[in-house]
Amino acid sequence: MKIGVLYSRIRQDEKLLLGELRERGHEVVKVDVRDQRFGLSEPPAALADVDIVVDRCLATSRSRYATQFLAAYGIPVINDPATADICADKAKNSLALAGAGVPTPRTEVAFTKESAMECIEEFGYPCVLKPVIGSWGRLMAKIDSRSAAEAILEHKATLGHYEHKVFYIQEFVEKPGRDIRVLATDGEPVAAMVRSSDHWLTNAAKGAETECFELDDEARDLVARASEAVGGGLLGVDLMETGDSYTVHEVNHTVEFKALDGVADVDVPGKVVDWLETRAKSAEPAEVPA
């Protein structure tokens, strides 16, 4: 098969993916998204005759637009633009999960400092303020007091990009010092790990320790439902343990899996490519979101 890999940075994740694809004899077309131009009808020459494209753009903005253009050209893309659009934005992510009845932390969005402050006071302390766009645990604030809330809101309102004036406020979940990352293909778990840290942020990118995790039936069911809620595909589903159950806090659409590959018993890139091959064989062009 001829498989396009759209990228701007080759991380260890992409190297694992490229290695597996090449080892299986696929023709891999690496396309640096920074070099491309996307017109309204014709695809960039490098992507004109690929069977499928895997979007591995590091920048969310590029991922969202590039997948839209690829879908418009009729080129199958993993993940499709509707999924990218939902997963790229924490507010849309939360709406999709809640709309599908998937347990997710209580969340509200407010557009002014005043309404955000009201919201924070109602949530009580601590609560969490997150940027709607962002990853790796950056710019996340655990708010412990009214004075901290006032300072953070003022900074965001004054210094931030307009997206920082969309105040995404969430309950603080008392998780047991860890959260769970599940790599899933169309809702079927490939592997899972826990990310543990003394810090309230447990992202692997923040240095959390990772360990393989065995999912129970309830977690598997939530992963399947969370995946379906955002349109399926190759996804990273994040869950927190709440004592007797789980809550799903987000789903990631350009999921990193190097840490998982380091701790899981399964061949993670192998499983991902198994799924990609199946999707490429049955691929139909993604729908372009309205």
Binding site: R9, I10, S61, S135
Partner: protein, 54 residues
């Protein structure tokens, strides 16, 4: 082998180095992007942007 564009130090690279990969210069600590592999060419890597991630 390639030279760091920041400090000029000579870097020895893995055989499977890929265009688009980021490597660290062991001498100056600079983050470098591989922009070509035949032969290897390096440039200073772009700074982290706010919308990067997964």
């Amino acid at each position: 082998m390639a030279n760091c564009p920041e400090c000029g130090a000579e870097l020895s690279l893995h055989d499977d180095v890929e265009t688009g990969e980021i490597i660290d210069c062991g001498t100056c600590g600079g983050e470098l992007e591989v922009v070509a592999t035949g032969p290897v060419e390096l440039e200073t890597a772009p700074e982290l942007e706010e919308d990067w991630g997964e």
